[in-house]
């Protein structure tokens, strides 16, 4: 785990934090715990620290490992988190070519929604975050934004 210096980093809490993990689902928890702990320390409400942030971030990292990197342990996933007065911004970047988020975004109105075992991950990211963006550059990135208000 590495904390990056911030251009505006006079706060006690470093606004930029970065982790690089192997494509191993067992690595997810420690990053999620670290980001959630930062948010708790920054005064985010308890419910978003217990639910919104850990669930949405788990989904994003799991997608990066399983879909983006295809579970290839030789590929890594980078997570960058920034916390400031406006809220939390997390970027999860894999080494894949990207995937169509909408194609794997099941909707609650889908006929098989209740009985299906998978397909709720992207739905949850959108439902639990204020903003979700994706793009391909050097790898595929998902940005999750949660505002304080």
């Amino acid at each position: 785990m590495r904390s990056l210096d911030s251009d505006s980093g006079s706060d006690a809490l470093s606004p930029f934090n970065e982790w690089t993990i192997a494509s191993d689902i067992r690595e997810i928890d420690r990053v999620v715990l670290a980001v959630t702990s930062l948010c708790e320390a920054a005064g985010f409400p308890g419910k978003v620290c217990r639910l919104n942030i850990p669930v949405a971030l788990t989904e994003a990292i799991a997608n990066a490992i399983e879909r983006g990197n295809g579970g290839d342990a030789a590929r890594s996933v980078r997570v960058m988190a920034r916390i400031d007065d406006t809220g939390l911004c997390v970027e999860v970047t894999d080494e894949g070519q990207g995937f169509d988020v909408d194609a794997v975004r099941a909707l609650a109105d889908d006929g098989d929604w209740i009985e299906r075992e998978d397909g709720r991950g992207v739905f949850l990211m959108y439902a639990l975050m204020d903003q979700v963006e994706t793009w391909c550059d050097a790898g595929h990135t998902v940005r999750l934004v949660l505002r304080r208000s």
């Binding site: 689902i25 067992r26 997810i28 928890d29 419910k47 217990r50 639910l51 850990p54 669930v55 788990t58 989904e59 799991a62 609650a108 929604w113 209740i114 009985e115 299906r116 075992e117 998978d118 397909g119 709720r120 991950g121 739905f123 949850l124 439902a127 639990l128």
Partner: protein, 110 residues
């Protein structure tokens, strides 16, 4: 994150300690399926000490519910806090599962 099980005749109680997520959902599935294979028909999963659940964890519960019902049994969930209830309502899975406040509540008429 761990699962503790108690078995009383065909009643299986699973106590979840910590989160149910992509990293351990398979462990829970296998644990319950093994017990169902050995005759468990009433399955109670207690989240009183549980943390958050991700989509994989929800999917595992959906899968187990289906399997238990196929065997003529019933699966009940107990001890969900307000956060988890929000998650079930958000995903509409509160319409699929029987949700109870406490383990004692879940055992009534089970």
């Amino acid at each position: 994150m761990s699962f503790a099980i108690e078995r009383d005749d065909d009643l299986l109680t699973v106590v979840v300690d910590g989160q149910l997520v992509v990293g351990n959902r398979q462990e829970l599935k296998q644990l319950v399926l093994d017990e169902v294979e050995q005759g468990a028909r009433r399955v109670l999963i207690d989240f009183t000490d549980g943390g958050y659940i991700d989509s994989s964890g929800l999917g595992a519960l959906v899968s187990l519910n289906k399997r238990v019902r196929e065997q003529g049994g019933e699966l009940r969930l107990a001890g969900l806090n307000d956060d988890l209830r929000t998650l079930f309502e958000l995903t509409r899975l509160d319409t699929l599962f029987l949700l109870y406040g406490t383990r004692s509540d879940a055992l009534v008429g089970f």
